[in-house]
Symmetry: none
Subunit: 250 residues, 2 copies
DNA sequence: TAGTGGTCTAGACCACAAA
DNA sequence: TTGTGGTCTAGACCACTAA
């Protein structure tokens, strides 16, 4: 059996991860875990400087990211506060299935369909800008919402950057979190193609719908902070259960 | 007559506008005006420090905003460069059907199905944050790509803000352009809901597909520069012909 | 090796909000 | 008046790129 360590509430100077980013992850987790509730005041910048033994600039650098994420807002003269998690807030952010379902007030669940290392097919290789045949870590999962099938997710990672990642069990584990915490790989942007497609026999079976029923297909290429394509993801959402929210700006 | 001053290439210490923001505006203008072309290298941070007599942090604060805007990208060890205004960059922009089709290399066409003033139905009223029954300018159009049906667009405008707008012919005219040029209304942001739905008999007929064929449904609420919801748009794209491209950032 | 951006520090003064 | 975040400075050392 494996016990997972409780996330540390400290910053490691030895780590390769920048201090401001460690602090960002740490504070973000406290908000996601509900340690700080919406509208709660965060510790002041001075307190964070003290608590984690960092300079104010470094603390502000972490907070800047969170402001950008829409996780917090600052009020001069008053303090820094956890933002209200409206759906609209993060419409264009990349969020995990888990987070997505919780926002929708549904109970998320996952079944792993397959997990393997395989050579890259032509289309995936092209999307990831690698050679066909190069090693991919492939993970296929059925996603459930309130115990009903919601979507099929097939993820392809460039194995070169994350060797050994498929040794883990991803029924209760976020792939993105693993990438970030074990491999230091941050996914910061993604491009998506969205289509309405009819369910194939196989998909219909897995999703418990009829053949030819409309599915929302999303193909996503995710990029690291260095703009390296790291993951190709193909999702099929049940058309009758899933709505995608997004936001556009001029 | 008025002569416009050439924009100053300097930072004012007397101004109430923060130095980093003045620098941001200044650099942004140079890019927009084409002084620096895509892929051109910007002055190094050290040069900007020198040129405008600022500290490096202040310079970086300005550049941070531009990175966030997607205007520039930094490459460690190399320099800072003007970003390419690729299609991808504007994936989240609101573009017209016309522009959309031209990017895809297809010939756009339009047939007006209906054009009328009608009282707001419940669902539309709610989306636009008005009272049910309030007057709407309603425009329904069939969109063609290379002379084949591509999508159905049903637009609902809050008539109060654009009286008389339905007197025009929108077979060859952009609704957004009309709003902007005749009514001074600029649409700057929008929220969308995206679903995969089966074609109804009516839609199947108009789009020349089979009943129950998958369609990509988009419901869009558009907002003016003052954050007033002005338009509710419902689009059905043929699943076999239309792919939506979008981009997400953390 | 020289030059770039990435990270971090220790300070300073200011504007604003609340008591 | 006190405490908050907002702005700004002058440094330092590091990691990466290109010559």
């Amino acid at each position: 059996m494996h016990t997972s360590m409780p996330p540390q509430d400290s910053i490691s100077r030895a780590s390769k991860v920048p201090l401001y980013y460690q602090l960002y992850l740490l504070l973000r987790r406290k908000i996601r875990d509900g340690v700080w509730q919406p509208e709660d005041m965060l510790p002041t910048e001075a307190e964070l400087v003290e608590r984690y033994d960092l300079s104010r600039s470094t603390v502000r650098q972490a907070l800047d990211i969170m402001v950008n994420d829409g996780l917090i807002h600052r009020r001069r003269g008053r303090g820094t506060f956890v933002a209200k998690p409206t759906i609209e807030q993060s419409l264009t952010r990349i969020i995990s299935f888990w987070e997505d379902m919780q926002r929708r007030g549904m109970k998320p669940g996952t079944k792993v369909i397959s997990s393997e290392i395989l050579p890259a097919p032509e289309d995936v290789a092209e999307a990831l800008d690698i050679e066909a045949g190069e090693e991919l870590a492939s993970l296929e999962r059925l996603r459930l919402a309130d115990d009903e099938p919601m979507s099929i997710e097939h993820s392809h990672l460039v194995h070169h950057y994350c060797r050994g990642i498929m040794k883990n069990d991803y029924a209760n584990q976020s792939l993105r979190q693993m990438l970030e915490e074990e491999y230091g790989i941050r996914i910061v942007s993604a491009k998506e193609k969205i289509r309405a497609v009819p369910a194939t026999k196989n998909l219909a079976n897995l999703l418990d719908v009829d053949v030819k029923d409309p599915l929302l297909q999303i193909e996503r290429v995710s990029y690291t902070d260095r703009d390296i394509p790291i993951e190709f993801l193909r999702i099929y959402h049940r058309g009758d259960r899933y709505t995608l929210y997004t936001e556009r700006k001029d």
